[in-house]
């Protein structure tokens, strides 16, 4: 009986180890698999051609990712520029100013937003943001716009990353030592001066980590952006131009990728690019956050 129990424990522990190793190795298997599939195109075209060329003619074997990369960068950039200040101000209000009953009310709403599926954000973008840009915003700046633009993509993405940034910045602000605030307030600083000169400065690494994480989230977002960006493979030059981000490229073309030589390899290369960038950004932000956590604990 005693032996049996110990044996069970041993077998189960090995089994669990197996599961753990298997699920962790998914990360490496994805990287290797995507790289393996990208080899044909990497052999045919140089990195410079792939990343720097704007010519996208799959039938002629020409795959220039530059417009797609620029599309992704524009959309992500706009999203961060909109979301970051709004989210920092919101977090500051929630943590530093809001009375506790309001706090209890506000935080769940930010969480609810994070539960909404991407496709719903896309539908909302089409129904609300597109007409808004088309009839109210664009006419002030350009002659004509359908509304489908990198700006629309940026706004939709900004709303999608609100909950992510707010929740991390909230966490960071919550760990700020009370003594620090007290010292500043005791010296006669106003609350805002304390925030500006003490809290924000101390919270900077955390805010950077949140931003990096938000960028990587925005990078990979597919369907919502695809629905509102116009998907025209040209490098955008203004916020009212259409764009064609990398994830949208993958999603839109999986259907024909088996019929054209090298096309599947090109799309897997796009996926590899996304994977690598997001991997690096995620590691950077997690390292910053873990260090912060440890410093707060110790």
């Amino acid at each position: 009986m005693q032996k049996l129990r110990l044996l069970t424990d041993k077998i189960i522990s090995k089994l669990m180890l197996l599961f753990t190793v298997a699920s962790v190795s998914v990360l490496f298997v994805i990287g290797i698999g995507l790289y393996y599939k990208s080899i044909p195109i990497l052999n045919k075209l140089s990195w410079g051609q792939l990343l720097g060329s704007s010519v996208w003619k799959p039938f002629k074997g020409l795959f220039g990712f530059f417009p797609y990369i620029m599309g992704t960068l524009w959309v992500t950039g706009i999203a961060i520029i909109i979301a970051l200040p709004l989210c920092i101000l919101t977090s500051l209000y929630i943590i530093e100013y809001a009375p506790s009953w309001l706090k209890r009310f506000l935080i769940p709403f930010v969480n609810l937003l994070s539960g909404i599926p991407p496709v719903i954000f896309g539908v909302w973008g089409v129904l609300f943001i597109i007409p808004l840009i088309q009839t109210y915003i664009a006419p002030h700046f350009v002659a004509y716009s359908t509304g489908y633009s990198v700006l629309a993509g940026g706004i939709v993405l900004a709303v999608m990353i609100f909950p992510l940034i707010v929740s991390i910045v909230n966490e960071v602000l919550r760990t700020m030592p009370q003594e620090l605030k007290d010292a500043s307030l005791a010296l006669g600083a106003t609350k805002w001066e304390t925030i500006k000169k003490v809290i924000l400065r101390k919270a900077l690494p955390g805010i950077i980590a949140a931003t990096v994480l938000a960028i990587s989230r925005a990078f990979g977002e597919t369907i919502a952006v695809l629905m509102v960006c116009g998907n025209n493979p040209v490098v955008p030059h203004s916020v009212f131009d259409t764009g064609y981000p990398l994830p949208a490229l993958i999603a839109n073309n999986y259907g024909d990728m088996m019929s054209i030589p090298l096309y599947d390899s090109a799309l897997m290369f796009a996926a590899l690019l996304l994977f690598a960038i997001i991997l690096i950004f995620n590691i950077i932000s997690r390292v910053i956050l873990t260090r912060l956590e440890r410093r707060m604990a110790g």
């Binding site: 599961f19 998914v26 919101t90 937003l113 599926p117 991407p118 805002w192 999603a251 996926a271």
Partner: protein
């Protein structure tokens, strides 16, 4: 002096405006979906599969997509749970003293959590080509399982960490093995497991990019794992892309269905979280 006060007032106002905008965007989105979706909502939408002329505006509904989504999200969550419960227990109970390895493992799951669903979709597609599986319910479930494992592991890990160490110590001191102790811990985190399941299900049912390549699309309700399955988000996407106004309207109604499902799931998980906190001392 007044300038400093003014600055304080100005920024406080700015913060309030930002907060209204950020928390208000939830109402804006849900409001828009309700406003546009309710006029097209009817019983047929949720009780019928697409009829012959569905895509030119004739009769039918999206029952195929609702069932397909339920199958995929349910299957992936169950399969994911089978994998993530052992993982969460292993990293919490069998790795004492291996701090560096533990931190690295947690980091890997954090990173996996950050990998976008389109990459899981593309990878799932590669797996399917490799094993010769065609776009099907099975393919969709596998891709979505990969997507939800990090969510489940992270949530379960966090919940297990809140279990008081004394509980474990007591079980161990009574002579139980680590696995028997794990069973005690599992009983203690039951509400947490429900929360993890809801989170995972909510994410799985709303995701498009992972099922786009892997699950295919079909007007019929799948009867076996090898048949292609429609999913609700993908149905919304297709209907919205249609030039026929009636079909677009059904897209809004489908969006309304998905929004309601997801809101109910999120509210349930919030309530569960509240209850599990109440039970704590």
């Amino acid at each position: 002096m007044t300038r400093r006060k003014l600055e304080e007032q100005f920024f406080k106002l700015l913060m309030i405006l930002a907060t209204i905008l950020v928390s208000g965007s939830f109402f804006l989105i849900v409001g828009t979906i309700f406003y546009k979706g309710v006029p097209y909502m009817n019983w047929d939408m949720i009780s019928k599969t697409p009829g012959g002329g569905f895509y030119i505006g004739k009769e039918g509904g999206v029952l195929n997509a609702i069932i397909g989504s339920m199958y995929i999200a349910g299957g992936a969550t169950i399969l994911g749970l089978f994998i993530s419960i052992p993982v969460a227990i292993f990293i919490n109970m069998y790795m004492d003293g291996k701090k560096f390895l533990l931190d690295t493992l947690r980091m890997v799951f954090d990173v996996l959590f950050g990998i976008p669903s389109i990459v899981y979709g593309a990878f799932g597609f590669l797996l399917m080509i490799y094993f010769g599986v065609r776009a099907s319910l099975l393919g969709g479930i596998i891709a979505v399982t990969l997507l939800v494992i990090p969510i489940l592991v992270r949530t379960l890990d966090e919940v297990i960490r809140t279990v008081p160490g004394e509980l474990r110590d007591a079980a161990l001191a009574l002579g139980s093995t680590r696995w028997e102790t794990a069973k005690v811990v599992l009983r203690a985190i039951k509400p947490g497991i429900y929360t993890a399941v809801l989170l995972s299900f909510g994410r799985a049912i709303g995701d498009v990019a992972s099922v786009l390549f892997t699950a295919g699309f079909s007007d019929n309700i799948p009867t076996s794992l090898h048949e292609p399955a429609a999913t609700l988000p993908l149905a919304i996407f297709f209907q919205l892309g249609s030039p026929v106004a009636e079909v677009q309207g059904r897209g809004y109604a489908s969006a309304l269905i998905l929004t309601i499902v997801v809101l109910v799931i999120t509210l349930l998980s919030e309530l569960l979280l509240k209850r599990s906190y109440k039970n704590k001392i």
